[in-house]
């Protein structure tokens, strides 16, 4: 397995710069997810690594070797496409064999590898079929198998789960995680689904509007989002944002809400800039409790079974989502009180930069 290094790479489509001076290292054996909304440039970046898009500036190295001038086939990577891209007129066996034949792999070796990959992916009984005769999940496995047999330097996944139904997506996710634990293969996984990124990746690269917002482990991304964009994009329901006034509480920031109630955060006040600030609170940090400090009125109740989300309007008209236990008594129209766990609160400045409590 090999590392993948991007050294200030740039990409233009006509006059529009879609990737600018981006640098990133994916270590050997690492599972990295590129996470972001559609159009953020994450697929383009993946395709640049694969050799399916030209690079307009910078260098790409795989296993230390510079590859950005090599054709896709010569880079030694394998890709699993969003729509699988299986060759429709070839049997599953031929789909898997095509790439090996093209580099002159001996026939017995091809047979052996396909047999092995088919066993791992449990598609041995499908080898004689054509893609049109397979279900979506089976096609997905064949697509992964086509990558597996090549024993590539790195695996590139381009939103591979987005065409599966919800149940199958969850199952395949677990299988991919297991596969990676066993192969320890360098993997880049592009997705717009934060759950996939959180559950699969050892590191997540959050991208937005053609640039990297944050690189970090899943818990870093979730617990200490670098920007408002990351905070809003990762986590469900999205983080609550409320405009506040600042008050010093012995070196730490206290946030005063519009209705006068106070949230005591652990964010050091000396790192905060002047100007408008907002507090960011995850739903699980806001509880519906009789002894809570903040009054509000319930507008919508979403029951998820294990927990309940209450959409609440505060006295000053701002709204937020609070969490309650599964068998919650709250009803739309109820007046409730909210208790906020200030230690997990984040502060954001006017530019969307985040400020967290010390670790």
């Amino acid at each position: 397995m090999s590392s993948i290094e991007l050294d200030s790479v740039s990409k233009r489509f006509g006059s529009v710069e879609v990737i600018s001076e981006l640098s990133l290292t994916v270590h050997s054996g690492e599972f990295v997810a590129f996470l972001g909304p559609s159009g953020c440039g994450k697929s383009t970046l993946l395709r640049m690594i694969a050799g399916l898009e030209t690079v307009d500036g910078g260098e790409i190295r795989i296993g230390g070797e510079r590859v950005d001038n090599l054709p896709p086939g010569a880079r030694g990577v394998a890709m699993v496409f969003q729509h699988y891209a299986l060759y429709p007129h070839m049997t599953v066996f031929d789909n898997l064999a095509f790439g090996l034949k093209n580099i002159g792999t001996p026939t017995e070796e091809i047979g052996r590898r396909i047999e092995e990959a088919a066993r791992i992916l449990e598609i041995s009984h499908l080898l004689k079929r054509k893609p049109g005769q397979l279900s979506g999940g089976q096609r997905q496995r064949v697509a992964i198998g086509r990558a597996l047999v090549k024993d590539p330097k790195a695996y590139l996944f381009d939103e591979p789960l987005s065409n599966l139904d919800a149940a199958l997506r969850v199952r395949t996710r677990v299988e991919l995680a297991r596969l990676h634990q066993q192969t320890r293969a360098t993997t880049i996984f592009v997705t717009h689904d934060q759950v996939e990124a959180m559950t699969l990746a050892s590191r997540i690269v959050v991208m937005n509007a053609r640039k990297v917002e944050q690189v970090g482990t899943p818990m870093e991304i979730y617990g200490r989002p670098a920007t408002e964009f990351v905070a809003r994009f990762v986590g469900s329901p999205a983080m609550n944002f409320l405009t506040i006034n600042l008050k010093d509480r012995g070196g730490f920031a206290s946030a005063v809400l519009g209705d006068g109630s106070v949230i005591e955060t652990d964010v050091p006040i000396n790192i905060l800039p002047s100007g408008e600030l907002r507090v960011g609170l995850r739903a699980e940090a806001i509880r519906v409790r009789e002894d809570g400090a903040i009054p509000g009125k319930v507008e919508v109740v979403e029951r998820l079974g294990d927990r309940t989300h209450a959409h609440i309007r505060l006295a000053d008209g701002s709204t937020l989502v609070a969490e309650d236990k599964g068998i919650s008594q709250v009803q739309p129209g109820d007046s409730v009180r909210l208790a906020v766990e200030g230690a997990t609160a984040h502060l954001f400045d006017a530019d969307g930069l985040a400020y967290h409590a010390r670790q």
Partner: protein
Amino acid sequence: MTDVTLSPGKAVAAVKRPTGASIGPRWSNALFVAPYLVFYVVLLVYPLFKGIWMSMLQSDMFDNTSKYAGMANYHRLFNDKIFIGTVWNTVWFVVMTVPVFVAIGLLLALALNSSDRTAAVLRAIFFGTSVLSVTIVTIIWKMMYMPGNGAIASIFKLLGLEPVAFVTSSSLALVAIAICTIWWIIGLPMMLFLAALQQIPGELYEAAALDNASRWRSFWSITLPSIRRTMLVVVIYEIVAQFQLFGQAQLLTQGGPNNASRPIVLFIYEQGFRSWNLGYAAAASEILFLIMAVAALAQFFVSRKRVEE
């Protein structure tokens, strides 16, 4: 997915030097289009310009030379009563046939837009004549039109009517050609309309039925608006196609009687390959080209308009 024992690859990439394709422009990629381009340039582009050049030459029949004559051929054409006559004949033929193609084509398509077997057989009948060559079609219709002994004359006699001499009457010769042409290739507009009708979502008709719309009302407010573009395509296509009238006229009436059914292409053919006035024929063909280019341009704009929608 259980245990993974994929043995480490034996440096597969090193077995053979990779020869895979790369993205981006490559000069060698032009080799795919080069073979066709040779034919295109040699047999279409070159003759097109050579034809324009030839239309400006006046050939001398005696010593087989030709000299540049500018617009002389065109001047002669505009003063040639026979040529002007052929233009009017062709226009008249287009005016006669195109509305019929649209109307009957659409009516047949509406009636046969059904998935049952009867409709399929009927569609095959109406379209089937289109695959015959013009020479077979004219043999068949000569038998229909033959004075005295033809099928139509026989029917007229059977009904106690005076047989109409279609092909030998200067007022009816072109009509006879038009009838034969419509019989021959009504299948194409029918198929084009059928394809368009099948693009209309069935839910529209179901919604209209629930809204108490009659069949007639559904036709006017759903079907017609939905096939507007196909209608235009059919009209333009048929105009271009019928301007090229040749075989039927050459074989059914020989352009007669008295030039009454002589179309432009027959004029070009006779000038070029019977009288060997190549420059003169070339000039006539350029005028035909100009007329048809206008129609083709219209087609281009119509199809582009749809893309923009």
